[in-house]
């Protein structure tokens, strides 16, 4: 079963059609997607900038990360769910959009980046938690996350614009 046939199937479902043709549901889901994006990415930038050693350097890394994590996760959760609904309603159009594929690739890269960070350098965080400038690998992870999220926003907006 190819990805195209899966997208064709999703697109042909009654829920997908209903969503596409709805007057209010689509704008509400889209609006929620953008607001949850602002919450999650708006908060993750402080953690990334702290990892990069650019801001809040007087606080330990964990003191910046711990309190914002729950809000960030809620934002991400809502963003993923609304993003999934948007895809369900526009599966075929997403399939044909190069921006959609670019966005998926960058989301995967962001996932790999955060996994590598948590599985390696973050395991030894106790050693560098207080340092104003974290070790190079952590700085790279911070910068990579900032760049990837900026790109995800860019291609996401382009996707909506050219869809």
């Amino acid at each position: 079963m190819s990805i195209l046939s899966i997208c064709q199937y999703i697109d042909s479902t009654a829920t997908s059609t209903a969503f596409r043709e709805s007057l209010y549901v689509f704008p509400i889901v889209e609006g929620t997607h953008v607001v949850s994006l602002a919450i999650s990415v708006g908060l993750i930038i402080w953690f990334d900038l702290r990892l990069a050693g650019l801001i809040l350097t007087k606080q330990p890394v964990s003191a910046v990360f711990r309190p914002i994590r729950p809000f960030m996760l809620i934002g991400f959760g809502v963003m993923f769910i609304t993003g999934g609904i948007l895809f369900w309603g526009l599966a075929l159009r997403c399939y044909g959009s190069p921006f959609f594929w670019a966005k998926m690739i960058m989301l995967i890269l962001a996932g790999i980046n955060i996994s590598v960070y948590h599985l390696t350098i973050d395991r030894r965080r106790a050693e560098w938690d207080d340092q104003p400038i974290p070790p190079l690998q952590a700085r790279i992870a911070g910068f990579a996350s900032l760049i990837l999220w900026a790109l995800i926003i860019t291609v996401g907006r382009m996707m909506a614009y050219f869809l």
Binding site: E30, G31, I39, W46, I55, V64, P67, R157
Partner: protein, 160 residues
């Protein structure tokens, strides 16, 4: 009142800048992306400051210091959203004039800017003891709600 200022919207749309942005699909799209970047950072700084005022984050640090450290980010983000916002506006000023979401956005923007530079500024830069915890918490919440209002109404412009 809205009718009286219509000529301004017509003039903006007919300006060379309006033409220039409108005629290039890419310039418009890129301006919109930068607008979204600015908004994300702006909402990010507001959220972080609000979490501090609510007493939920960065408690070891006086709010005054945090507010000062975030100030350049706020100004950079504000400059970005306002500049790109004006560019987007002149490219479709007449459409904005007819758009109910645009009117709400301008209302929220007006309130958010006033709140940002009066209440939020004074409160976040004063000593913790000067204002009760509830006042500080409410200030953070109002700031977040106002900027979210701008974002939601802004997104809604495209739906009318």
């Amino acid at each position: 009142m809205w009718d009286y200022i219509y000529p301004f919207f017509g003039w903006a749309e007919q300006s060379w800048l309006g033409h220039a942005i409108r005629e290039s699909k890419w310039v418009f799209a890129i301006t919109e992306v930068l607008h979204l970047f600015g908004l994300t950072v702006l909402i990010g700084t507001t959220l972080l400051l609000a979490l501090r005022l609510l007493g939920w984050a960065l408690q070891e640090r006086p709010a005054r210091e945090l507010a000062r450290e975030l100030t350049p980010w706020v100004y950079t983000a504000l400059t970005t959203v306002l500049t790109t916002g004006i560019l987007l506006f002149v490219s479709e000023a007449v459409k904005c004039w007819r758009n109910p979401a645009f009117r709400y956005k301008m209302l929220f923007l007006f309130l958010a800017l006033i709140f940002q530079f009066t209440v939020l500024r004074v409160l976040s830069r004063s000593d913790e003891e000067r204002f009760p915890a509830l006042t500080r918490a409410l200030t953070g919440i109002v700031a977040v709600v106002l900027w979210f209002g701008v974002a939601v109404a802004g997104r809604a412009i495209a739906f009318f």
